[in-house]
């Protein structure tokens, strides 16, 4: 039986948006898919050794809040850090894996991770800040894999 293939493009680097690529990739790998994630633009921070992912309610009116907080208050210094801490604590309490854990599970399951070289140049990222075992390449390399993928997702 031919192995199915899943190709994902991860473009976002906030705590909430970090979950879909890693959840789907690790699950697909468990189901026997050959899986590749191409990280570009803000998604690249998901490959940093030291993750400091944040979540914000600003521009995200659907985010459930324990108490209604007026938008003007949400812009105050420290609010984003506080919300991120609260979100991480809530996830832990509910048995939701951390992003680090899901990323490790992906690596363990041989999910291939490709970092967009152009983004590294654009934001002057230092490759030594990124985890080991990843590749650096461009859009053409993505299509080399995605061209015959069964499922392709842009996240």
């Amino acid at each position: 039986m031919d192995e199915k293939k899943l190709a994902i493009i991860a473009t976002k680097g906030s705590l909430d948006w970090a979950y879909p690529p890693f959840i789907l990739a690790s699950t697909a790998a468990a189901l026997g898919y050959e899986t590749q994630i191409f990280f570009t633009f803000y998604g690249l921070v998901l490959l940093k050794k030291k993750l400091n992912l944040q979540v914000t309610s600003l521009g995200n009116p659907a985010m459930p809040m324990p108490l209604p907080v007026p938008v003007i208050m949400q812009t105050m210094p420290g609010m984003q850090a506080m919300m991120s801490t609260m979100m991480k604590a809530k996830m832990k309490k509910k048995g939701v894996a951390s992003v680090e854990e899901l990323r490790d599970l992906c690596l363990e399951a041989e999910v291939k991770m490709v970092a967009c070289e152009m983004t590294v140049q654009l934001f002057d990222f230092n490759k030594s800040d990124f985890i080991d075992g990843i590749e650096y390449a461009g859009a053409t390399t993505f299509f080399d894999f995605a061209g015959d993928a069964d499922v392709s997702l842009y996240i």
Partner: protein
């Protein structure tokens, strides 16, 4: 005699961890052996059915007992 060869407690874990842990445990088992999984995530009921369907590992049974979900998977 127990009706399973290995046991996995995935209580308290949320999607997709019960499936990922089960897959990892199955990797270390022999074909035909049975893994019993205990989970508390209600979503795992449908997910273990789908996992079995997609991977060919047979879901022998799926039940609920006092807020816990029990599954037995037979390794392909």
């Amino acid at each position: 005699m127990a009706d399973f060869d290995q046991e996995l407690d995935a209580s308290g874990l949320n999607c997709p961890l019960p499936i990922l842990r089960a897959k990892k445990t199955l990797n270390g088992m022999e074909s035909g052996q049975v893994l019993r999984i205990t989970a508390t995530d209600p979503g795992s009921v449908k997910d273990f059915e789908s996992f079995a369907k997609q991977t060919g590992n047979e879901l022998l049974d799926s039940s609920e007992e006092g807020g816990k979900y029990l599954f037995r998977l037979k390794k392909k």
